[in-house]
């Protein structure tokens, strides 16, 4: 008969949290920030095809950091959930808060019951509509969910970057001003991020049903040069 040995719950949670945090800290960070006409996500991502930011639905975007395979699976689940909900009911019934809650439940379950906690943090971003203001839902590695009205930072060094974003943050900044501010906050004073290492996408109303757009390298260069 095998003996199960006792581990204090506090110890176990601490160990799991440390494990998840280590995994997340290894990855690059990203910032989601409200600007005058929408929400922009600026991510440090050297990969051209393995995206951190993605479209979920007409007015909802997803951003994840940590282990790619883990947050990409969450992204896929989110798209399926959104398309199925919109198909069953109506497009307007697809709600970012509900999706963020599902993510929080799943990530929380994996943290407490899984073989290992997920090494991810995700953002669910909702573009403002006539009924509500823009919202950024932040789901942490243990399932804690918070909503940020102006900006959120996830990934390694997120505290440091958050402090840099908070300095002179202006939710009414223009699209290009906000991108410049976020890129500066991501890179810090000591280094400059090359355009190829940036992944930038935004949600903005331009009179179309779908509001998500990923910027090309050329578009990013132009904005950073201005």
């Amino acid at each position: 008969m095998s003996m199960s040995y006792y581990v204090a719950p506090e110890q176990m949670i601490r160990d799991k949290a440390e494990f998840a945090q280590k995994g997340i800290a290894r990855g690059r960070s990203l910032i989601a920030a409200v600007y005058q006409a929408g929400v922009v996500v600026v991510a440090e991502n050297p990969s051209v095809s393995l995206n951190k930011v993605s479209e979920i639905y007409d007015r909802i975007a997803f951003a994840g950091v940590g282990k790619y395979n883990e947050y990409d699976r969450l992204r896929e689940g989110g798209i399926r959930w959104a398309d199925q909900t919109g198909f069953t009911y109506s497009r307007e019934d697809v709600d970012a808060r509900a999706l963020a809650n599902y993510y929080a439940q799943h990530i929380g379950d994996m943290f407490t019951d899984g073989a290992k906690p997920l090494e991810v943090e995700v953002l669910v971003i909702q573009l403002a509509s006539a009924q509500q203001a823009s919202k950024i839902y932040h789901v942490a590695f243990e399932g804690t969910i918070t909503d940020e009205p102006q900006f959120a930072v996830i990934g390694g060094e997120s505290e440091l970057i958050r402090a840099r974003v908070a300095e002179q943050f202006d939710p009414a900044a223009s699209f290009s001003e906000q991108i410049q501010h976020c890129v500066t906050a991501l890179s810090g004073a000591e280094r400059t991020l090359p355009v190829q290492d940036l992944e930038i996408a935004r949600l903005e109303d331009i009179g179309e049903r779908r509001t998500f757009k990923r910027l090309t390298d050329a578009e990013v260069s132009e904005i950073l040069a201005s």
């Binding site: 479209e55 689940g77 399926r80 959930w81 909900t85 919109g86 069953t88 599902y102 439940q105």
Partner: protein, 264 residues
């Protein structure tokens, strides 16, 4: 309905249909038998820079059930999808197609190719025909961004997909519309010429087929005219559509109802 997560063995991938089958069996096509609206004429025609599609607006159920049905939809930015057959299953069919193409794009981060979209519809048609008493025959026309040309795909009622080199017609007004296209089609037509010929084909069908609605000058309802080019799906504005049908109608009136002259 929780977050639909799958393990790698059962993961349905980017296909929305495969996902729906996995998640909710039987939820897609549950038909209700009643007296259903049908009948149509939709034509599509290839020209130098893309395709044009024109469709009548009438739904018939023994009588004229609707006068302003929009039978052509943008399945996505680069393709137009039209339906003939039972209205209920047809509308469901369009919803599924639009959703599937967008779902694929979001899941994979890239657009499905035009041929990929055309093939995707085949099993959908087969399933509607074999599991319900209702028939849906769609027509897909779009702009192939890789080949830089317009392409047209026709289907039979069990889902066979056949690419058409020049033009295609679906619906009960087919004999009249197709004859018009057959006589008028030339290789490398301009957009303007193609629109006029396609509009004339639907006019002919409306004139001869009791189940196809022609231009309705009393209610100001005109067949839909759309084009798909490298600029994507565009619908002609009401003023331009009505003007083109007005010109056809005036010529026909002037010739005493006979198809004569350059623009017949």
């Amino acid at each position: 309905m929780g977050l639909p997560l799958f393990d790698s063995g059962t993961d349905p991938g980017p296909s929305f249909i495969a996902f729906l089958n996995e998640a909710t069996p039987d939820s897609v096509f549950r038909g209700v038998a009643e007296e259903l609206a049908h009948a149509t004429t939709v034509v599509s025609l290839r020209f130098a820079d893309g395709v044009v599609m024109v469709g009548d607006r009438q739904a018939t159920a023994g009588y004229i059930a609707e006068r302003d049905v929009r039978k052509i939809s943008a399945a996505d930015r680069y393709c137009a999808l039209a339906i003939s057959g039972t209205a209920a299953t047809g509308l469901e069919f369009i919803r599924i197609a639009q959703l599937s193409f967008e779902h694929y794009e979001k899941m994979t981060g890239r657009l499905l190719s035009l041929e990929g979209k055309a093939n995707y519809l085949s099993p959908l048609i087969y399933r509607t025909t074999t599991t319900t008493p209702f028939v849906v025959v769609p027509m897909l026309a779009g702009y192939d961004t890789a080949r830089k040309q317009g392409r047209i795909f026709r289907y039979d009622r069990i889902g066979g997909c056949y690419e058409q080199p020049n033009f295609d017609v679906i619906g009960s007004g087919t004999p009249f519309a197709e004859s018009t296209l057959r006589l008028g089609f030339r290789e490398g037509m301009t957009k303007d010429e193609a629109i006029n010929l396609a509009a004339l084909a639907v006019y002919e069908a409306g004139d001869n087929d009791p189940s196809t609605g022609g231009p309705d000058f009393v209610r100001n309802i005109f067949p839909m005219i759309v084009t798909v080019t490298e600029n994507g799906f565009e619908e002609l504005a009401f003023e331009e559509t009505s003007e083109r049908f007005r010109i056809i109608n005036q010529r026909r009136t002037a010739s005493g109802g006979r198809a004569e002259g350059d623009l017949r």
